[in-house]
Symmetry: C2
Subunit: 376 residues, 2 copies
C-alpha cells in the first residue's frame, strides 16, 4: 500500500497520513520545497534534510529535460544520484512550464511544441515522451502531462482543455504501463484534476481520474490568479469526489494561510516556490509574523531572526545582521532567508499534522494564522 | 605574549607558531578567508568554522564603515556579535579600498578623501579616524592606515609615498595609545611595510615599523601586478629585517603557489579573495589540481568533487552535478565552490604547518605544488 490514512480530524476533513516510496516514507500533510533544476535554490541538501527536515522535494521535468538532459541523468543513475538527494522526489510533468515559461508554445492533440527559454531550441512534449523523460529522471512520483488553461479561461475553453487533458491522461497511463522504472524502485504516476473554477468541470475531472490505477491525485490549475475563496471552493468540490484512501496534492500552493485552509479541506501535499523566492527577496515568514527584512526598523534589532524557529539560522543570526546582508546584496542573505523559510513551512505542516492527530486542528488553525500572518 | 614561535624549518625560514587573541588562539601559518562586509561570501559561519576549519577571518573597514556603519556595530557590541562570528577577526585599515574601489579619491597629508562606491557620498579617512573606526568594529587585529602606491610606481613616488605612510603610522599609534578597546578584549595594531619593489625602501620600511609596540607586522603593496619573483624577493628582503618573534602577515596573497613560496620565506599569515571569488566563477583548487568546472569534460564525471578533500561538499557532490549547477546559474554552485575552495586553502596551510613541524617542508612543498597546480 502506497498511502496509509492515519487520522481524519474529528468533525472535519483535515487528514494525517503517510506514504511510502523507494526512498523512504513521508508523513502528511507535507510541504515539498521546489528544487527546479535538482537544487532547492541556495540550500545544501544536507541542510534541507537535516536542518529544515524536508522529507520530499520537487524537481521540474521541463528544466531537467533541457539541462542537464536525460542522457546525463541516465548515466548518473537517476536524479537522486545525480544531485545526491537520497530522500523521495517528485517531478512535475513540464506541462505548467511549457505554458508559463517556454516561448512560441503551440498546443495540438499530439502535445505541446515550445522553444526553450534558454537557447530557443525547438521541442515537443507529448504525454508519451514526458513519461519517458520522467522515467529517465527517476523521481518517486511522476505527474501526468496536462494542459494548464489560464485562471481566466471561459467555460468553453476550460471544458475543451479538460477533454484534451483527459485524452492525454489516458495516453500517459498507457505509456506508464508500457515502460518501467530504470533504477530499480517504483515510480508512481499521479493524474491531475483540472477544470479552472467551474465546479461541474472539476467534479467531472475528479471522477474521470479515478479510472486509473494511481497512487495519488493532484489538483492543478489553481492559485493562478483566481480569488482564494474560489480556490478553496474548488478544493472542496474535488475532495468530495476523490477517494479518501489516496493522497491529494494541491500543486503550486501557496501562502501559509492557503496551505492551512487546504489542509482543513483534506489536502495532503503541497509545493511552492514562495519560501525560497520570497526569501531571496528579503521576505521572511516566521513564528511571530511576516518580516520584510529590508525595513529600517530592523537596523539595530539584535534579536534572533526567529526566537522560536527550528532552523539553526534562526538563533545564530539576528534581524539586524540579515538586514545588513540583504541591503548589501550579499548572497548569504538569500541563503539564510531561504533555509529559514523552508524550515518554517516544514515546521508549519508538521504542527498541522500534530494538531490533526491530537484532534486540535480546528482550534489551532485560527490561532496560529492570527500569529503568523501579522506584518511585523 | 601575543605570538609564540613554535618551530622554524630545519635549514630554512618556514615557521610554525601560534598567536592568541581575546577570541581564541590561531596556529600559523594561517589563511584568513575574506569576509568583506562581515560575511565570507556564500558561506554560513557554522560551515566556515566547523567544516572549513577557519580560525580567523578578515573584514574590511572601508565596507563596514559605509555599511552598516559604526553606530550599528557599536550598538551590537562589535563585529563579532553583529555577525555571530566568535573566533578571531582582523580588519584591514581601508587604505587599499580607498585607492582601489572608491571614486574621486584625493590623498593629502591629512588622509584620504573619497566618494563612496555605493552612493557617492563624500568621506575622509585619516590615520586617527581609521583607528577609531576599527575600535568601533572591534576586530582582534587592526591594521595601520597606509597609502598603497601602484605596483608600477617609480622610485620617487614610492619613496614619497613611504614617507607619508610612515608619518601616518606614527599618528595611528598615537591614536591607538590614546584609545582603548570598547568591548573588553585587546585589539592589536599591525604596521604595514611598504616600498613597492625597491629593496632599499622595503628595508627602510621594515626597520621603521619596529619602533612601535606592535604584536605583528604586515607586508603590503605586493601582488598588485608585479612579477611573482619580485614579490618573493621583497618578502626575503623584508623578513631578513623584521624580528622573528612576531607574526608576519602578507596582505592580499594569493595563489596556493604564492602562499607556499611565502611560507618558505618566513611569512605566517595570509588573506585573499581568490578562493571565494574564483569559486563563484567556477574555478576550483583541489588536491588533484585546478578544475574549471564549466568545462565539457566534467559533464558526465560522477566522481566526487575532490575525493581527498576535507569539506563535506567534496564527497557529497560530484563534478557533473557542480557543472550542471554552474552552467544553470544556480547559486548553490557558488556555495559549494566557495566552501570547497576555502576548505582547500585552510587544508593547504594546515599541511604546510604539519610539514614545518615535522621538518619535511622542503621536500613536501615541490611535491604538493606539482600536484595541486596541474590543470585538470
Amino acid at each position: 500500500m502506497f498511502f496509509e490514512l492515519q487520522h481524519t480530524a474529528h468533525g472535519g476533513k483535515a487528514r494525517a497520513g503517510r506514504f511510502t516510496t523507494g526512498h523512504g516514507a513521508v508523513e502528511t500533510p507535507i510541504f515539498m520545497p521546489v528544487g527546479t533544476a535538482a537544487t532547492v535554490k541556495g540550500i545544501f541538501h544536507r541542510d534541507l534534510a537535516e536542518d529544515a527536515g524536508a522529507g520530499i522535494i520537487l524537481a521540474n521535468t521541463y528544466h531537467l529535460y533541457l539541462r542537464p538532459g536525460t542522457g546525463v541523468l541516465e548515466e548518473a543513475g537517476g536524479v537522486h544520484r545525480f544531485s545526491s538527494w537520497e530522500r523521495p522526489m517528485l517531478t512535475d510533468s513540464g506541462g505548467f512550464q511549457v505554458f508559463s515559461l517556454a516561448d512560441c508554445r503551440k498546443i495540438t492533440e499530439e502535445g505541446g511544441r515550445f522553444a526553450s527559454h534558454i537557447d530557443g531550441s525547438k521541442h515537443l512534449f507529448t504525454p508519451e515522451n514526458v513519461i519517458d523523460t520522467q522515467r529517465s529522471i527517476g523521481a518517486d512520483i511522476m505527474m501526468a502531462f496536462d494542459e494548464c488553461p489560464p485562471g481566466t479561461a471561459d467555460r468553453e475553453y476550460a471544458a475543451r482543455s479538460l477533454e484534451l487533458t483527459n485524452r492525454w491522461l489516458e495516453r500517459c497511463f498507457v505509456q506508464y504501463e508500457r515502460t518501467s522504472s530504470k533504477y530499480g524502485y517504483k515510480q508512481s504516476l499521479f493524474p491531475i484534476v483540472q477544470g479552472v473554477t467551474y465546479p461541474d468541470l472539476r467534479e467531472k475531472s475528479a471522477e474521470f481520474v479515478q479510472q486509473f490505477p494511481a497512487d495519488g491525485f493532484a489538483i492543478g490549475g489553481l492559485a493562478v490568479g483566481e480569488p482564494a475563496e474560489d480556490m478553496y471552493r474548488m478544493i472542496e468540490v474535488v475532495n468530495a469526489v476523490l477517494p479518501t484512501d489516496r493522497p491529494r496534492y494541491l500543486m503550486g500552493v501557496g501562502t501559509p494561510e492557503n496551505i492551512l485552509e487546504a489542509i482543513e479541506r483534506g489536502v495532503d501535499m503541497f509545493d511552492c516556490v514562495m519560501p525560497t523566492r520570497n526569501g531571496r527577496n528579503g521576505m521572511l515568514f516566521s513564528t511571530e509574523g511576516v518580516i520584510n527584512i529590508r525595513n529600517e526598523k530592523w537596523r539595530t534589532d539584535f534579536s534572533p531572526l526567529d526566537p522560536a524557529g527550528v532552523s539553526f539560522v534562526d538563533k545564530t543570526y539576528t534581524k539586524a545582521y540579515l538586514r545588513h546582508l540583504t541591503i548589501s546584496g550579499e548572497m548569504l542573505a538569500a541563503q539564510i532567508a531561504s533555509l529559514h523559510n523552508v524550515a518554517f513551512y516544514l515546521w508549519l505542516v508538521g504542527e498541522a499534522r500534530r494538531n490533526i492527530l491530537a484532534d486540535t486542528f480546528a482550534e489551532w488553525k485560527p490561532r496560529i494564522l492570527e500569529k503568523i500572518t501579522r506584518r511585523l
